[in-house]
């Protein structure tokens, strides 16, 4: 028995060949057979890093982020809106509270076992400047992102899995970008693929990256209430050399025209002041190093 048979998943009943198809299935527009039911693919294996999160990191994070609040919190201060809401002259105007938006100045919600910081998705993003002049320059980046992420649109019958998406220019900025022109690619990783990507990043890519001291982190003087500090997202960039270190790319690196750098965003459920610091605590539980600038 070879190694593949040993590691293969266990069946409760002996497998046998699929039954013969007597009446052929209806075909879709792409000439593919359409099954009688909506098939949705779920987890095919238990995930190592997800296990690590649920058995070790989550408990520790709850203890680390807990603040003892024996008394109920004070109700938030009522801030006067810019215009009098009862004045018929200004009734339908946009009427924000004075002093700008306050979402980033809210204190974090009390820590409970339910709202411990949790990784929701990882987004990879790459801008290809040459694609402004010729769209075909995006193809290499699309292939590389497909290989790294393993995601494809509607994969496993799930509508929410969007695969590798093309990013278009939002604004017309003279000499740099035009509106609606494809300029980059991005992909959202969720579920087991997200944990697999995190494991590969930490074990194969970051240790072999040259001159990498850690994900840069600003000093302690930065206020906790800035939008970046309170948004619950940690982002960093990887140089083009790093793409060649992903094992999915490494096996046939010469099939790609060139290597691309990428931005990685770790998007979590953390909110309130200092949310980014809590995300850093979460990520260091997966051995992502952080270093002061």
């Amino acid at each position: 028995m070879s190694a593949t048979a040993v590691t293969a998943a266990r069946h409760l009943r002996p497998t046998k060949a699929a039954p013969r198809i007597l009446r052929p299935l209806p075909l879709s527009e792409k000439r593919l057979p359409v099954p009688h039911v909506n098939v949705i693919l779920r987890d095919t294996h238990s995930c190592r890093l997800a296990d690590h999160y649920y058995h070790t990191v989550r408990d520790d994070l709850m203890y680390m982020t807990y603040t003892h609040e024996p008394h109920p919190r004070k109700p938030p201060r009522k801030i006067r809106p810019t215009y009098d809401p009862n004045d018929p002259y200004t009734k339908h105007r946009f009427n924000p509270p004075i002093g700008g938006p306050t979402w980033s100045k809210q204190p974090p919600p009390p820590t409970t076992a339910e709202n411990v910081v949790k990784l929701e998705r990882i987004q990879l993003h790459c801008m290809v400047k040459e694609a402004i002049s010729s769209k075909s320059q995006l193809l290499g980046a699309i292939m590389a992102f497909r290989a790294i992420s393993g995601e494809s649109a509607g994969a496993g019958g799930r509508r929410t899995s969007e695969g590798v998406q093309i990013v278009r220019g939002k604004k017309q900025i003279g000499g740099w970008i035009r509106q609606g022109v494809p300029v980059g690619v991005k992909v959202d990783l969720k579920g087991p693929k997200m944990w697999d990507f995190l494991g590969i990043l930490v074990e194969c890519v970051l240790p072999r990256l040259r001159e990498f001291s850690g994900v840069p982190m600003e000093g302690p003087s930065v206020a906790l209430s800035t939008p970046a500090s309170a948004s619950g997202v940690v982002s960093f960039g990887l140089p083009p050399e790093a793409m060649a270190l992903f094992p999915q790319i490494e096996v046939n690196q010469d099939a790609y025209s060139r290597m691309y750098g990428m931005h990685i965003h770790f998007i979590t459920n953390a909110e309130g002041m200092g949310a980014r610091n809590r995300v850093r605590q979460l990520l260091s539980g997966f051995q992502i190093p952080f270093a002061r600038k």
Binding site: A8, P14, T15, L41, T56
Partner: protein, 306 residues
Amino acid sequence: MLPRNALSACSRRTPTRLWALSRPLATEAAATEAAKPSSSTLPPHPPKQRRPKPVINTGIILNRSPLITREPTLFEQAYHAYQARIQRALFNPFPDEFYFKPGTILEERFKKEEEEREREAFGPPRKAAASKDSAFTESESKSASESSENQSDNVDEPMPRVSEADKKGDVRSLDRRMDRNLYLLVHAKDQKGKPRWRFPQGGREHGELLHEAAKRDLFAECGDHMDAWIVSRNPIGVYEPPLPADTEAEVIPKTYIFFYKAHILAGQVQPDGKNILDFAWLTKEELESRVDKEYWLAIKDILSDF
């Protein structure tokens, strides 16, 4: 759960206002009551003995987190196998000409492994198709099995999930029960000299913060031949040992043990052998049989089930 004076012992300065608040407030009713006995002589109050300040101790729940993934249950295994078959039946065809140069050894090996995975998922190929060229498939399968035997030497076998310590039943080893959270219990003499199983614990010096005391106590009892990390500055649980049922119980101060969570990162426990007689790394279920019942009730909810 905790009386007020237990918490006051935590703070560095004892607040004087607590004493002031314990006096009755100066209301009119109190004033009239107070006026009555003042006319007659005061009955001699027996000198009431106040219970001394409670003692705050720290206990450390030293944890070795799982080293390998949990063994899936029978149901999970069947579920994953079923989903893997769906995936194999429906996924996009693998672009092998993109990843392998045609005619290479690597490609041949991949195709053989892929065939075997296909057979594992869907069983042997259908009989009608097989009967056409049965002789050919038989000879091919023979050669395939021979070549797979030859190749099996090259493929790395995974490490066993059961370690030497599991086979020997060595509870002191950190390699035992690799898929579970383990906790350190020490076999220590209590005040009467009777040995008991408990978590490492210790006292707190004057002016010392609790989490600092926890770190000091851990190394004091378990030796400094290990690298350990106290997870947070907050305690994760509290235990109040029962007072001895004596008449003198009023004089004995209450004791509170605040538990802190810690992880062992390297090294091993090396107790001095004077007060600590033995130690063991145990899972939650194994722990129950060793500790006292009251101790178990206090700690069972702060330990991990996995």
